[in-house]
Point group: C2
Chain length 306, copies 2
Amino acid sequence: MESFVTKASASAQPLKNADELIDSVETFIFDWVIWKGDKLIDGVPETLDMLRSKGKRLVFVTNNSTKSRKQYGKKFETLGLTVTEEEIFASSFAAAAYLKSIDFPKDKKVYVVGEDGILKELELAGFQYLGGPEDGGKKIELKPGFLMEHDKDVGAVVVGFDRYFNYYKVQYGTLCIRENPGCLFIATNRDAVTHLTDAQEWAGGGSMVGAFVGSTQREPLVVGKPSTFMMDYLANKFGIQKSQICMVGDRLDTDILFGQNGGCKTLLVLSGVTSLSMLQSPNNSIQPDFYTNKISDFLSLKAAAV
Amino acid sequence: MESFVTKASASAQPLKNADELIDSVETFIFDWVIWKGDKLIDGVPETLDMLRSKGKRLVFVTNNSTKSRKQYGKKFETLGLTVTEEEIFASSFAAAAYLKSIDFPKDKKVYVVGEDGILKELELAGFQYLGGPEDGGKKIELKPGFLMEHDKDVGAVVVGFDRYFNYYKVQYGTLCIRENPGCLFIATNRDAVTHLTDAQEWAGGGSMVGAFVGSTQREPLVVGKPSTFMMDYLANKFGIQKSQICMVGDRLDTDILFGQNGGCKTLLVLSGVTSLSMLQSPNNSIQPDFYTNKISDFLSLKAAAV
């Protein structure tokens, strides 16, 4: 769907000397690999403490747009991790940050197909919006001649994961994109799969976005992984060189590609959805710089142990 | 989306001698250009009568899957046109006919994302199905560990236009396509636009299909226009040469492409969504053999008048 070119790279190497990697980077970006369901993965707090003690900046990114940064901060807190809002980059925030970065006019409105997180971030950023959960129960009247009115001031439609997706939202957003001159079509992500619950894989934000691609025949601007928007934003905000960032994640086609698209170092952890055999399959063209079993390997894989 | 190659053709010619075209074909396939909203277009009954009197076979095709052939037959009747069920080919019927054509096992089931027409046609064809309108009000429970069960006997998911589209259906159909070995993904059509009411363009079946493309990362098998399935079926059923069929429609990217993909003659009528300037735009690569203003031109454009 996205047309990123995977950089040709040698096969991934097992991480043998964590200290060398740690010393070579200034910032670690973690995908949500630090927890599984509602539990922290063993050894995560100690690993993060060690990295902080070495002066490393930590950033947590997610394509999940259903919560705001503040809401995610609370989730970290209940798990016993202290993470500030500024360290959290969810695609809900990315959508608002993108609109800010292009000086989206404050007198224009954003139509939201998605959940509460996007609304909260738009509000914090000072943008006017409509849609979101309140359109979840709306239906189309089908009397002859019926016309759905839409707000001509909508200048952007933001589409994210939405459990309350319905035809009303498809038609409303489609009218805005098709009929409002210059209206933007922004996707928080195009993930096929999301993790509503641990018990199975759930259809992800890619399905809501796919519906709008089908009805508008336009491609969205993606602000979440693997688009480089968040990486560019981070590098810019913190004044970091991208070569001094290491992206740590468990998905090749989002996390690792995101790191590579952004020109960062990449570390795949095998504690999530990607197995060693998937990484080494001839069908896989995405090779991180390093791979390891779990995040806490940072604590044990010391040069001194050699 | 579809990978049909448009046949390189000369620019469309205005229809000047209708008799010559009529004499050269055995069957006319009409898209729904015969009516607009709930009214027949002027001169249509007389034109159809004239064609029938010359022994021409008439077939009416639509990508709309919300009704069955029988239900469309009643609509024709209320408009004062006598059309038999056998002359009507809606994509709801095409989905069932496709499953029949591949001997889809009668002990397997079809999961339907769509409206009543698909269910009625599957039932007539003797297939077991689930889903459809009855899943329109279903919601996902979000307690931790929740798992949506799905029927392992579903061997095909048929996706058509659906006003009652929701996340439950996306997840159910996605699970079937992703987890049931060999499960087919069939689309009635991928139209961006449909005509629920006259008053505006409505997001079409392409949006429901797009959602499943996004969540399954698979491409559907399309049975409606512009896929050639219906044309092949017609040629086979009636024993017609495709070069003796003329497709008459108002859309370049569905009707005319459908005719051309099937190797038929094509006539564009300008009484619908396509204007002469759209046809002649350098951005348009789809050229019918002929174009004319309206269907009733068949009555007036006589060689004798020259």
